[in-house]
């Protein structure tokens, strides 16, 4: 079995994986970081979004071996200790989450948007979220959260 090594949330990790192992499986099962979720099997829902080398990616659509050597950030690595990242804080402040299942992917995706656009319009946010499905919130408060989070980043 191939061995993969990468940096996840600032820590060097490595593990033996079957070649078919997806990055999300490596994160959840090998590393025990269960904040990254799997909500579909067609790369549509975005619950599994993490950052790979600073860009948001659906970790169900990458093999673990493709992330060999990469810098990966998951939802567990976003906060600064106990202090929430401004995007996390904005989701809390604006009731941008309900059941919490899509939330890690939403937040990671939103951070990537905000990294490239400090002041996204409502329309830009809604378009950006095309790859993230939420069944609870109707997106209203997610859009509000992302606007505030981006401004505070």
């Amino acid at each position: 079995m191939p061995t993969v090594s990468m940096t996840v949330n600032g820590k060097s990790v490595s593990g033996e994986v079957e070649a078919r192992t997806l990055l999300v499986q490596f994160i959840r099962e090998n590393l025990g970081l269960t904040g990254t979720h799997v909500g579909c099997d067609t790369s549509q829902c975005g619950a599994c979004v993490v950052h790979v080398d600073g860009k948001s990616m659906k970790s169900c659509s990458l093999l673990a071996v493709q992330a060999d050597g990469a810098e990966v950030t998951t939802i567990e690595g976003l906060a600064n200790g106990e202090e929430l990242h401004p995007m996390q804080e904005a989701f809390r402040n604006n009731h941008g989450l309900q059941c919490g299942f899509c939330t890690p992917g939403m937040v990671m995706s939103a951070v990537d948007l905000a990294n490239n656009n400090k002041n996204p319009s409502e329309e830009e946010i809604r378009e950006w979220l095309e790859g993230n499905i939420c069944r609870c919130t109707g997106y209203h408060n997610i859009v509000k959260s992302i606007k505030e989070g981006a401004a505070n980043m």
Binding site: C40, A79, R92, L97, Q98, C102, R135, G138
Partner: protein, 787 residues
């Protein structure tokens, strides 16, 4: 109002763990020695199983065990509600085996379970199982099913589960025959797939040392699962069966029911001697989570010259799918026909309902359950009648509203509404929607070649489910009370154990606000515990917008017992008469004196009872209460939707959504708005995007997110939501419930808006989901007819 009590928009206490990836959903849990289950499912909608050869699969790497229906002869997955036919005979109730017994009846029916060291090994081994099927013709269409021929269950004639009615058909026919005007529509309420974002999962284990089974499962009601699975399917006594529903990623009804996979992993755990985990992939969710809606209805509304409603007659066919899911049978009857008065004074109403088996996934309650189907047909037929008679949409509604001073109001369809003010929600929605400015916006759209329409829906629903005596008399095999246990810890913090279950609703916050308000405690002194049958005494769970109106009331009852006991303790310590003790702002005082004890001091004394008179005062401070509601609760309101249609493409843009809802007293306005938003999105999804489609062979054509259109951020606008408040008259909090209103009220508003936009072209109807193709075809059809 305190910053943490009733009426405060407290930020949610549960959010920190979800935002930092520290939630614990079922699939996040791993147990030592855990194995993985993969379920081999039927690829056919209807087939006889001649034989199953598992020998090659059993020899595959990593396989621990394989079981088929021949191995698993257990009880049937039960149905919780018995409906009776018109003639008084009970409904047909065919068995529902967890693993198929000789026959499969829908695509996805469970055929075998492979248990292996890894999920990949289980999945690979399942491919080696050889099942010899004889395919049978499938019946998918309800009308064809009723014609007989192909039978889903050999012993259910004409695939008819029941033929039920409510009301006096003769009286209604007479009123219709003598009416000035009758509006008639055929309506389809489209089948939906719930799609909670967390797929279902289950982990079964067995401890040989204690004889205790444990099931972790994605459930809205762990005690109900314990009862159904323990007593009916596996015959495990409740004291040896623990069910844990940890963080659950959305339910919307689909996680109420007892599913086969829960029974399979629990039953197999002692056989393999290790824990067994099963997690659905999304494709499995599409074919095995109970679907929603799926009604075909003919509705007739009779009116007098002035537009006053005289009678309503409804005939509905409701799809049950291949088996009866847990609450399937009550959805098209007692959660539907009893709501057909809507917000109107219609004097006579008749509903006839046929429930029908087909070779499709079982259908059960989905957000709103029966009430969206009722409000959709009422508001569609009212809209049509107003157009036919030339009466403005708001006027026809006002003319027929149950007036605000008429409550309690006994409808002709069994329910007695306790409170409401439908004029108030209509007025506030019209104001917030800027109905006055609609004509100008319509003209602006027309100038760009677009068609703009405005649609109304004024609705009521029945939730806070439910008075046990009432539902029992209607066929429910369960009571629908709720329990709460309030444990005051020695240093004065409080742990509340509730039988409700939160899977997105924010109970940990809303319930803590009740405690803060009632006992005067800061929120960080309150813990809400739910979801574990070994912690919570009993519970009927969360559905039918019941958590606050029933679960919250149980909590209030238990907290009042705590206050009563605390007064006894304070009276003893302060050497005063119990009647002289007052409780306010977390302090017990002797009336008219400065003698006082804080809540924390009382708690400590209760656990350090050095000088208690033990014959009259027990140590400890913990109380239990069960609450059974007196009536359903009746949230209602008005939703107004404005759309802009592109006549060249048929694309509908939802431009404005305005909801004014009366959900009773609001505990946390932020959470109430969030619940409304989510319901609106699901309602708009049903109206415009979502539709479950089977082909004639029973193959699901909309089985993934590539094919089933989930509402996405760019399909929806921002929502305008507000609340008008009339208090529930029969519970202490005055609360009604908000979980389902958005999904109940909004679909007819969307469709009425599209019809309004296209009415100039002569279009009178459009079915859900109103996809661009359908809208474009309606436009072309109307144009062709006009030529």
């Amino acid at each position: 109002m305190s910053e943490t009590g009733i009426g405060a928009s407290v930020k949610r206490l549960e959010d920190y763990r979800f935002l930092t990836g520290r939630g614990t959903y079922t699939d996040d849990i791993n147990q030592p020695g855990q194995t993985h289950a993969y379920i081999l499912r039927s690829p056919h909608a209807h087939a006889t199983i001649n034989s199953i050869d598992t020998s090659a699969a059993a020899a595959a790497p990593g396989v621990v065990a394989i079981f088929t229906g021949a191995d698993m002869e257990v009880g049937s997955l039960p149905c919780g509600w018995q409906i009776h036919n018109k003639d008084g005979s009970p409904m047909a109730e065919p068995g529902h085996p967890p693993l198929a017994q000789g026959k499969v009846r829908h695509v996805g029916d469970q055929v075998a379970v492979v248990i292996a060291e890894t999920l990949a090994q289980a999945r690979s081994a399942a491919e080696l199982i050889e099942v010899d099927y004889s395919e049978l013709p499938a019946v998918v269409d309800m009308n064809k099913a009723l014609a007989g021929g192909t039978l889903v269950h050999d012993d259910v004639a004409d695939n008819l589960c029941y033929d039920w009615e409510l009301g006096d058909e003769g009286e209604v026919d007479k009123a219709i025959a003598g009416a000035h005007h009758v509006t008639e529509i055929d309506i389809v309420n489209n089948r939906l797939i719930p799609n909670a974002m967390e797929p279902r999962a289950a982990i079964g284990s067995f401890d040989r040392a204690t004889g205790e089974y444990t099931l972790y499962t994605t459930s809205q009601n762990p005690h109900v699962i314990r009862l159904l699975m323990g007593a009916f399917v596996l015959q495990i006594p409740e004291h040896k069966l623990r069910i844990v529903a940890p963080d659950v990623g959305g339910g919307f009804g689909s996680k109420i029911y007892h599913y086969a996979e829960e029974a399979i992993v629990t039953w197999a755990a002692p056989k393999v001697g290790r824990p067994i985990k099963w997690t659905a992939d999304r494709s499995e969710s599409f074919i095995t989570d109970a679907h929603g809606r799926d009604h075909i209805t003919n509705v007739k509304l009779a009116l007098d010259e002035s537009g006053k409603f005289l009678a309503l007659k409804v005939n509905t066919k409701a799809n049950m799918g291949a088996y009866l899911s847990t609450f399937a049978t009550c959805v098209p009857t007692y959660l539907y026909a009893t709501l057909l008065a809507g917000v109107y004074t219609t004097p006579v109403i008749y509903a006839g309902v046929k429930a029908i088996f087909t070779n499709t996934t079982p259908v059960d309650a989905y957000r709103g359950a029966g009430r969206p189907e009722a409000s959709y047909l009422i508001e569609r037929v009212v809209d049509r009648a107003a157009r036919e008679m030339g009466i403005p949409q708001d006027e026809i509604r006002r003319k027929n509203f149950i007036p605000r001073d008429a409550f309690p109001y006994q409808t002709p369809v069994a329910l007695e509404y306790d409170s409401g003010d439908y004029e108030a929600t209509l007025n506030s929605a019209m104001k917030n929607a800027d109905v006055d400015g609609f004509a100008a916006r319509k003209a602006a759209s027309e100038a760009k070649g677009k068609l703009r329409g405005l649609g109304y829906s004024t609705y009521v629903e029945a939730c806070g489910i439910a008075p046990s005596a009432v539902v029992g008399s209607l066929g429910a095999r369960a009571g629908l009370f709720e329990s709460a246990n309030v444990r005051v810890n020695p240093t004065g913090s409080v742990t509340i154990f509730t039988g409700s279950h939160s899977h997105g609703q924010g109970h940990e916050t809303t319930f803590a606000q009740l405690v803060s308000e009632t006992l005067g405690l800061p929120l960080d002194q309150v813990e809400i515990s739910h979801g574990d049958t070994n912690k919570v005494a009993f519970g009927m769970g969360t559905y039918g917008s019941r958590s606050l109106a029933v679960g919250g009331e149980a909590m209030m009852k238990a907290m009042n017992k705590i206050i009563d006991k605390s007064k006894k303790i304070a009276a003893h310590v302060l050497e005063a008469a119990e009647a002289d003790i007052e409780f306010k702002d977390g302090k017990f005082t002797v009336a008219g004196t400065d003698k006082e004890m804080t809540f924390g001091e009382v708690a400590l004394t209760a656990y350090v009872p050095h000088n208690f008179p033990h014959d009259t005062l027990e140590p400890g401070l913990e109380e239990q209460a069960f609450y059974d509601p007196m009536n359903f609760t009746y949230p209602g309101g008005c939703h107004i939707v404005e759309v802009e249609v592109d006549p060249d493409t048929g694309v509908v843009k939802v431009d404005r959504v305005t909801a004014s809802d009366d959900v009773g007293r609001v505990i946390n306005p932020m959470i109430v708005a969030g619940q409304t938003h989510g319901g609106l999105a699901q309602g708009i999804g049903q109206a415009l995007l979502e539709g479950c489609i089977y082909d004639d062979n029973g193959q699901l054509l909309t089985g993934s997110y590539m094919d089933y259109t989930m509402p996405r951020a760019d399909d929806l606008p921002n929502f305008s939501t507000s609340n008008e408040v009339t208090l529930c008259a029969h519970n202490s909090l005055g609360v009604k419930g908000v979980g389902e209103t958005g999904a109940i009220g909004s679909p007819p508003a969307v469709i009425n808006a599209i019809v309004d936009a296209l009415s100039g072209l002569g279009v009178t109807d459009i079915s859900m989901p109103a996809t661009p193709q359908k809208v474009w075809q309606a436009i072309q059809g109307a144009k062709a007819a006009a030529e």
